[in-house]
């Protein structure tokens, strides 16, 4: 947890980006963390193959909130093809929190939701 003490990360936890929901998303996916049952809902707005907006919501822990905030920031403005290439490890590197195995599952919930959302696109 020392890592999340870093101001920047704690600020994201307390003031996450893209938290909430949008009107008429192109796609909306909810995903549960199998370890604890926590749920993250991810909404995407897609125009001409570009993700123009992304929002997340749900009852989640700090790691899940930070991960969702970072991932949504990262994908906004990118094309579906670019986003499909993102690997889970890329996200873990982006959030850079030195997570234990159990907390990696917290960070991954939003990533699984994104994968589900992109499956049929």
């Amino acid at each position: 947890m020392h890592d999340i003490k870093r101001d920047e990360i704690m600020d994201l936890y307390k003031n996450p980006h893209n938290k909430g929901s949008m009107n008429k998303p192109t796609i909306s996916v909810s995903k549960k963390n199998p370890m604890c049952g926590d749920e993250v809902n991810l909404q995407l707005k897609i125009d001409n193959g570009i993700i123009t907006d992304a929002k997340f919501d749900g009852n989640a822990c700090s790691v899940s909130i930070i991960s969702s905030s970072v991932l949504t920031d990262y994908i906004i403005g990118k094309s579906i093809n670019e986003v499909k290439k993102i690997k889970k490890n890329d996200l873990l590197k982006l959030i850079d929190m030195n997570l234990s195995t159990s907390r990696i599952s917290c960070a991954s919930v939003v990533f699984s939701a994104l994968q589900n959302a992109l499956e049929d696109l």
Binding site: M1, H2, K5, Y13, M35, C36, G37, D38, N59, A60, C61, S62, V63, R103, C106
Partner: protein, 404 residues
């Protein structure tokens, strides 16, 4: 109670630079040296298959295995050791009854009564068994204090109820359930009672005969014994009529190319090579517990519960669930904060060397019913101290300051 901490080598280790404070005993307890030594001794001196050979090692190994059965039989006040079946834990014990006893004794339209505080392992086996035979499942509700009252049980009993399967103690609320009264009520109506004792056997003095239940299931690893072994106790009369759970070596009387006849109980329920070292380890664990005295263990836990309940109440924004009275609980307290996730509290505590559980504790229906988020669960045992609880309380305050 005598100082037992020196008997637990793991308590000497540090976690993240601080002495380990282990408060996740409802998940699994630590093991005293006596138990680990016994298992080592078994493998170094006696290891051999049981009930098979006529050589010395096989006889000694069989004696140790059956000796453990006797120790456990005495520990829970069974009529005789034939009523003790070794399983791999409470989950398997409950599955055995659901898989074998239910289809032979229940029919379409019958009701299995559970309660809303059950662990998933005392829900799912019954759901599946009921599904197969067309039986129904109903739930007894806990009251506002997290208790199961006899009035509520009475309300749920009908002519259709054939089995009540209920925890002796809740792994989330800590509530001790009035099993004796439930059994009396049930037996007056010809209803069988199965008890999930996973959270009770480590803490309460169990006497299956005075409780009056028909089945009692518990796990070794929560009561100082090794993992991978547990017990299903059932009345001899029931076991004699019960179909074996698995078929194979060791459980037969006679086998031909066409069919087989079963060995006597309990051997007929233990096909294949059993977990002998596990049973021997559990035997050592119940001996250790008996030497300390279950009454002393209970008093120690009530004292810790009182102390912790008082301390937790001081923390701003905390919501404690389960009975308000320490003597209505086993050794655990769960709580939550509305705006701080339980995993985050547990993570901060972990940086201080404190091990607690966070999440739903395999009781998702209960959390959903109470409409509460996941909880932090602090569960203590014979080796925990008030000093450790002080460190915990300071840790929780620190976590709350940091996270809110």
């Amino acid at each position: 109670m005598k100082d037992v901490r020196k008997d637990f080598p793991i308590l000497n280790r540090t976690v993240n630079g601080s002495p380990l404070i282990y408060l996740d005993n409802a998940a699994t307890s630590q093991k005293p040296k006596e138990v680990v030594d016994k298992i080592v001794e078994y493998y170094y001196k006696y290891n051999s298959n049981v009930h098979r050979g006529i050589h010395t090692l096989s006889e000694e190994s069989t004696e140790m295995y059956e000796g453990a059965r006797k120790l456990i039989s005495d520990f829970i006040g069974a009529d005789n050791p034939r009523e003790i079946l070794f399983t791999k834990g409470t989950t398997e014990s409950l599955n055995r009854i659901a898989e074998r006893w239910v289809p032979a004794n229940l029919k379409r339209g019958d009701v299995i009564l559970l309660s809303d505080l059950e662990h998933h392992s005392n829900i799912i086996p019954w759901q599946k068994a009921a599904e197969r035979i067309g039986a129904e499942i109903n739930y007894i509700n806990t009251d506002d204090n997290g208790e199961i009252t006899i009035e509520e049980v009475k309300k749920m009993i009908s002519d259709k109820v054939k089995l009540i399967s209920i925890s002796h103690a809740s792994n989330v609320l800590g509530t001790i359930v009035p099993i004796k009264e439930i059994c009396k009520l049930a037996h007056d109506k010809g209803i069988y009672v199965c008890v999930d004792g996973a959270q009770a056997a480590p803490h309460l003095k169990i006497n299956v005969q005075s409780l009056g239940c028909d089945f009692y299931a518990f796990s070794s690893h929560k009561m100082l014994g090794p993992m991978g072994v547990g017990v299903l106790w059932a009345k001899e009369k029931i076991l004699k009529e019960l179909e074996p759970y698995e078929y194979g070596g060791g459980m037969i009387d006679e086998v031909s190319f066409k069919n087989a006849a079963w060995a006597e109980i309990p051997i007929r329920f233990e096909a294949g090579t059993p977990n002998v070292s596990g049973a021997v380890g559990l035997g050592a664990a119940v001996t250790y517990l008996s030497n300390i005295g279950m009454d002393n263990i209970r008093n120690h836990e009530i004292e810790l519960s009182k102390y912790l309940l008082e301390g937790l109440k001081e923390i701003k924004g905390i919501n404690i669930i389960g009975p308000r009275e320490a003597d209505k609980r086993t050794g655990l307290i769960s709580f939550y904060f509305l705006n701080i996730h339980s995993h985050d509290i547990a993570s901060v505590l972990n940086t201080l060397g404190i091990a607690v559980r966070s999440g739903y504790h395999c009781a998702m229906p209960l959390h959903n019913k109470l409409n509460i988020p996941s909880t932090v669960r602090v569960s203590y045992y014979i080796y925990n101290t008030k000093e450790e609880l002080n460190t915990l309380l300071n840790g929780i305050k620190k976590a709350v300051d940091f996270l809110s």
